[in-house]
Symmetry: C2
DNA sequence: CCCAATTTGTTCGTATGTATA
DNA sequence: TTATACATACGAACAAATTGG
């Protein structure tokens, strides 16, 4: 059972060619992955952490700084350092998102169309780095912006990682779906791989998004990876870009 | 005239509420923007820089570290710190790129279809943060992958920033176009804003890329920004995603 | 091949400033 | 006001990589 403030053992001289701050990083990452450090909780102060790991404050800060850069931790001067939590704001600046052509951003209104259990096909298994035929959960969501249906999402989850997931639990979640993964299954989506193409709307898409069959649609295939780089979700998003666009700013400013 | 190793003045107590390392950062950025530090050149060593700025080695390293994180500088242990240069490899990991569905990456073969001087329309002026009607250069390029035409690029450049640019100079460039901006005009593309949508191929696109009119195409509108965040290029790319995809990995690994 | 000089990388520790509760 | 936390700045010492002799 996780304590509010876990204590760490000294890093000693583990990993001969490995810099100390990297050993500290991996210890912190491991504590998050294992659930010892839960999202939203505060880490012990830098002084305390440094003394627990038996490294200098500077080395400790270097380790924490890299995790902050990777959006794994969040530092707040005067308050403390926290395990990052998923929320709508983080999503907007860390991942791609859809916004109106004039730049208006809005939190989409989500509607779950279907929730089914089945088995992974070749494409899904390849993306999730597991074998075809293993148990999976497939969810179809429709997102509305300004009341208009804009995105149709088909999510595929490995059932082994989401034991006990039911449609009603999913529907009754209070926040974003990545926050739901975090809170209910201890799974943090740290980064994503995306492949984008243009396709013609099929009948299903056309009906759900109110476009004519054959209309050009954006198709985004996203593999979401956990902190340990395990694939946790494969998502195919079909986006109507008549009034909206898929946006991101590349590389952070200096 | 730029010297090989410029010398810097002490930062003293400029900018009261400004951390020293940020003042150092801005000095280095200014030296790159002004051309005192040319891309590819080595900076003075950290000890020398620290003594020139009259800051500690640690403060100097913090400033340099942030610029390295922003891909402005490159550090090489045992050799020195260099002003980053654009090349095909950097492009692949810093920006989006097109690759074959099976993941094969290849440096595209580029063909310049047209080079014209004209004036900015509203959309272009808006993207380049200048006024409509000002002088502009419009270039159309076609990119081939595995011999197949895949991308049609229409580049719009503010003529004021690219004085003396001619079609023959552009065609005879030895490297990538961003490297060309760097070498010939001292303009470094530091980051980009992209907006993606799906459109139907018009007759021109269909002819140039060998697709049927009306086929779904990916359209990427990119505004490239310099180190000082000035827009330097507006590019509309039309991509045939039958055999290829638009790819990027989001957020760096921890 | 080895050595020496140079440069960045890592680690240490201290002191002081700023933000928060 | 006080206490605590992170932020900034300093500087020293040694390790690791590179280069040139």
């Amino acid at each position: 059972m996780p304590t509010a403030s876990p204590s760490f053992q000294p890093v000693a001289q583990q990993g001969i060619g490995q810099p100390l701050y990297r050993v500290v990083m991996r210890r912190l990452l491991g504590a998050i992955e294992s659930g010892d450090l839960e999202p939203g909780t505060a880490l012990p102060s830098e002084r305390v952490l440094a003394s627990q790991f038996e490294v200098s404050i500077g080395t400790l800060r270097q380790a924490v700084g890299e995790l902050v850069a990777g959006h794994i931790l969040v530092r707040r001067q005067g308050r403390g350092t926290y395990v990052a939590q998923h929320n709508a704001e983080r999503f907007l600046f860390q991942f791609f998102h859809v916004e109106r052509t004039d730049g208006l951003r809005e939190v989409p209104e989500l509607e779950t169309l279907s929730f089914e259990r089945g088995h992974l096909d070749e494409e899904q298994a390849d993306a999730l780095q597991t074998r075809a035929g293993s148990a999976a959960i497939t969810i179809e969501n429709r997102l509305r912006l300004q009341g208009r249906p804009v995105v149709l999402d088909r999510l595929t989850l490995p059932a082994a990682m989401f034991k006990g997931l039911t449609e009603s639990r999913l529907r009754s979640r209070p926040s974003t779906i990545y926050r739901f993964y975090q809170d209910e299954y201890g799974i943090t989506v740290a980064r994503a791989l995306e492949r984008v193409r243009a396709v013609a709307a099929d009948r299903h898409v056309a009906r759900q998004l109110g476009v004519v069959p054959g209309a050009p649609m954006l198709q985004v295939r996203r593999t979401a990876l956990s902190i340990g780089d395990k694939p946790v979700e494969y998502r195919v998003s079909t986006i109507s870009t008549g009034l909206h666009e898929y946006v991101h700013s590349l590389t952070r400013p200096a």
